[in-house]
């Protein structure tokens, strides 16, 4: 079925009234015919007699893909640089993508929503209460706290329970200076209440109604890390992370000198295979092991890979609260 013809709305010879205040350029549309002066075009023109628009589109796509590949290569180079040469200055974008530790941006969005993670907000501040013994400051949790603070609006408070009488001043300021808005509790997404108390084992209380107290620094660390980033969905990888966390707390922090040496060797070989303990991603395994290595004493005899990894960890900038304690 044919369509009826319509006369052009305006005559092709219509001359627009151009302003004179700007300099004039030759009309690019009228030059179309002459564009084939470039070698490629002329070649195509020579070969096919005329330029095929499909080929042009293909060319454009190829260029785009190549450009993306170059960008990716640059990014990978940057990453490799931070891993292999720890002293190198960190590219900000790289560090933030590492700390968020999210394989894709979609999961990241899901994470920021505390409602889905911790249940619906009933108007009360979601307060994580941690009872810790001042004799054993929980370095891992302090590190996780500082990362949480970058992600959420966290109301951090430190209290001393009446069961302990003297707490060194650095323990009182371990969560950093008071937030300027701390007078209005409703303005915060998350509460982090650290209570120095005479407890045999570190303890966390969150929802008194639905949850029993969680005991042990490792378990609390797992809880806090899940607020930051989901565990790897790969079961094997998740187990690997868990296994390293257990190793850190049971063998590095509490183990004998022999056990510690064995763990250091294991760390060394694992870090020889991948930049981080659980493969390509920075994870809770790295935080836990880093803190426990730091806590277990001088790092002079640490093997090479471990030393390199320690430096890379430090480059991330999350560990300053833990380092404060060891000075």
């Amino acid at each position: 079925m044919s369509m009826y013809q319509v006369k052009p709305l305006c005559g092709s010879l219509l001359k627009p009234d151009l302003p004179t205040c700007m300099y004039t350029l030759p009309n690019i549309h009228t030059q179309q015919g002459n564009s084939c002066t470039s070698e490629v075009c002329s070649e195509h023109a020579l070969q096919n007699g005329e330029v095929d628009p499909a080929v042009k589109a293909l060319e454009a796509r190829q260029d785009e893909i190549l450009r993306k590949l170059y960008e990716l290569k640059a990014a990978v180079d940057g990453l490799a640089k931070t891993v292999t040469t720890p002293d190198a200055d960190l590219d900000l974008t790289v560090s933030s993508s590492l700390s968020s530790d999210s394989p894709s941006s979609t999961t990241f969005k899901g994470v920021t929503n505390l409602d889905t993670l911790l249940g619906k907000d009933l108007g009360a501040l979601r307060d994580i209460v941690i009872n810790a013994n001042p004799a054993q400051p929980p370095l891992t949790l302090l590190v996780l706290h500082s990362v949480l603070c970058q992600r959420y609006r966290v109301l951090s408070t430190v209290h001393v329970h009446s069961s302990v009488s003297n707490v060194p001043p650095q323990l009182l300021s371990c969560l950093g200076p008071r937030h300027a808005d701390s007078y209005a509790r409703q303005m915060f997404q998350l509460g982090f209440t650290l209570i120095w108390k005479d407890v045999p084992k570190l303890q966390m209380k969150f929802s008194v109604q639905n949850m029993c107290p969680i005991e042990g620094e490792a378990n609390v660390a797992r809880f806090l890390f899940k607020l930051l980033s989901p565990y790897p969905s790969d079961a094997a990888l998740a187990t690997l992370v868990d296994s390293w966390v257990d190793t850190a707390f049971f063998q590095l922090a509490e183990g004998s000198a022999k056990e510690r040496a064995a763990v250091l060797r294991a760390l060394n070989s694992a870090l020889g295979r991948s930049p981080w303990l659980a493969g390509q991603e920075f994870s809770l395994a790295d935080i836990a092991c880093y803190c426990c290595v730091l806590q277990s004493g001088p790092a002079s005899s640490t093997p090479n890979n471990v030393q390199r990894w320690l430096k890379s960890c430090e480059n991330l900038g999350h560990f300053s609260p833990a380092k404060l304690f060891l000075q």
Binding site: L122, G123, A124, L125, D127, V129, N131, T157, H159, V160, H161, S162, S163, S165, Y183, R185, Q186, T193, I195, K197, K205, S207, V208, Q209
Partner: protein
């Protein structure tokens, strides 16, 4: 009937408990001994008193002391009787707590406040038979002067606070005699609640104790309670004085009712009538307007509330604080909570014996607190209660059961017996409460809780006469009656806030007692005006 067991102030609880069995046995033995003794006594009486008494001037009832002479005699305190004093001859004045005669000797327990020591009169070259008899017949609670030598004992005397020494009495004189029948027995009055029922022993009910308050106050428990109460007052004064507060005195007879809600006592005042002050509130505020900056006051407060509960009194001691602040009323909260924490710390560190003594009769968990004090907001509290299944309106005040429940929830999560609840709904607070700047439904007011019961209620006050007039009108308060109060804010007033604490309640809740009458020396409630 005699029982020579008294729980000394410094004794450990376990010892007291392991003693129960022993006590029973001992008691039985005593009974038998007493029987024998009575018979012996009878026989002795029949022999007649004509027997020569060589120790005649070593005992007796001394003439009433009318300050006839000033002796230089030094009286030793019972609590100072330690092994270092062994083999010294000392004078001592104390009460006869118990006495028990056993043939040729008589054991006395001499008590001074919460301390006691065992003493012995035995027939020998210093004491005659008649002297022993005299000693055995001194009524309980009599006051005696005793000259005795201090002796170390090989076996600790478990029943006394001075466990390492006993006294061998050489002279004994009665200074003031007690009537033989006591309205209540001291050992019954300190018996823990459950124990009496189990063993079929007497306990003394609260009214008997309060009717005979003088004797009840002699018990170790009462001694400990009121020593601790004095400590609270002292710590309160010391802490605030160190913070630069000034202690003020305010009138108790006032012309207008100061606080809404609670009723006031009317007293006749010459040709008109006046009221007894419900709180020094208005006067504290006037002192702030008069540039005293930070003030506190300790004094009686009167509430004509006809409520017969475990925690209401019609007259109690108020510890009131008022201070000007720089920019935010949380400065006031911080000051008050820090004062409370200092009091709790002082009690924990310096009054451990008193706390232990009270715990023997009224067992309770040690008081726990956080430093700095936990502060929650009212909406948070409502959410916590909601989660626990309590339905209540946003602008409703907390009922007493809800307060208790909230206390339990907070304790479970934070393990503290002391916390602050901030940002109460404006509707449930008095007219002089400053509204919240961002939400007119709420106010800059707070309550403090100990073991789930409210001990302090406070707020930022309205310090602007214009706004105060509006708020008073809103509450339908007669402006004429509070004219002088409003006027005091017309000539420039600093922003300020404060609160008032009930001393009796603080002591009761700190010790975990269940009735405020136990921590009021001479309690006043709707049904009691004496002693």
């Amino acid at each position: 009937m005699t029982k020579d067991e008294v729980q000394g102030a410094t004794e450990e609880e376990q010892q007291a408990q392991s003693k129960k069995g022993l006590k029973k046995q001992q008691k039985e033995a005593e009974k038998a001994a007493k029987k024998a003794e009575k018979q012996a006594k009878l026989a002795a009486d029949q022999q007649g008193p004509e027997e020569d008494d060589f120790a005649k001037d070593r005992y007796g009832v001394s003439p009433m002391i009318q300050s006839q002479q000033k002796l230089d005699r030094v009286l030793v305190r019972v609590q100072d009787l330690t092994p270092e004093k062994a083999d010294q001859l000392i004078w001592l004045r104390a009460r006869v707590h118990t006495s028990r005669a056993k043939g040729k000797q008589c054991f006395l327990v001499l008590r001074q406040q919460q301390f006691n020591v065992q003493a012995l009169v035995a027939v020998g070259d210093r004491a005659s038979k008649q002297m022993v008899k005299f000693a055995a017949n001194i009524t309980k609670e009599s006051i005696v002067d005793v000259e005795a030598s201090v002796r170390k004992v090989e076996q600790k005397i478990e029943s006394c606070s001075q466990q390492d020494v006993e006294l061998h009495i050489e002279r004994i004189f009665v200074i003031s005699q007690s009537e033989a029948r006591l309205p209540l027995q001291l050992e019954d009055a300190v018996r823990p609640d459950g124990e009496g029922e189990e063993e079929g022993r007497a306990t003394v009910n609260q009214d008997t104790k309060l009717d005979n308050r003088v004797i009840d106050l002699r018990t170790t428990t009462s001694q400990a309670i009121f020593r601790l109460q004095s400590g609270v007052c002292q710590l309160f004064r010391d802490t605030l004085t160190n913070k630069g507060f000034v202690e003020i005195q305010t009138p108790k007879i006032i012309s207008a009712a100061s606080e809404g809600g609670a009723n006031v006592f009317t007293v006749s005042y010459f040709k008109t009538s006046a009221y007894l002050a419900q709180s020094p509130q208005l006067y504290k505020q006037m002192c702030i307007c008069a540039d005293f900056d930070k003030v506190f006051c300790v004094g009686p407060v009167f509430r004509a509330e006809d409520s017969n509960t475990h925690r209401h009194l019609t007259e109690f001691v108020g510890l009131d604080i008022e201070m000007a602040f720089s920019y935010h009323y949380h400065e006031v909260i911080d000051s008050i909570t820090d004062t409370m924490v200092q009091i709790f710390k002082g009690l924990r560190d310096n009054f451990q014996t008193e706390i232990q003594t009270v715990n023997k009769q009224y067992p309770s968990e040690p008081f726990k607190f956080l430093e700095p004090t936990l502060r929650l907001e009212y909406t948070e509290a409502l959410a916590m209660l909601h989660e626990a299944g309590v339905e209540m309106g946003d602008e409703e005040d907390l009922s007493t059961p809800n307060e208790k429940l909230l206390g339990r929830l907070v304790k479970e999560k934070y393990d503290t017996d002391f916390y602050v609840l901030d940002k109460y709904p404006l509707a449930v607070r008095p007219f002089y409460t400053m509204p919240d700047p961002s939400n007119p439904k709420y106010s800059n007011s707070y309550d403090m809780f100990m073991r789930g019961e409210e001990i302090l209620s406070g707020a930022q006050r309205v310090h602007d006469a214009q706004m105060l007039t509006e708020r008073a009108t809103h509450h339908q308060i007669n402006l004429e009656k509070i004219k002088s109060y409003i006027d005091s804010f017309r000539y420039g007033a600093p922003p300020h806030g404060g609160g008032g604490i009930g001393l009796e309640r603080v002591c009761m809740l700190y010790l975990g007692l269940h009735n405020v009458r136990q921590t009021s020396m001479f309690p006043r409630d709707p049904k009691r005006l004496t002693p």
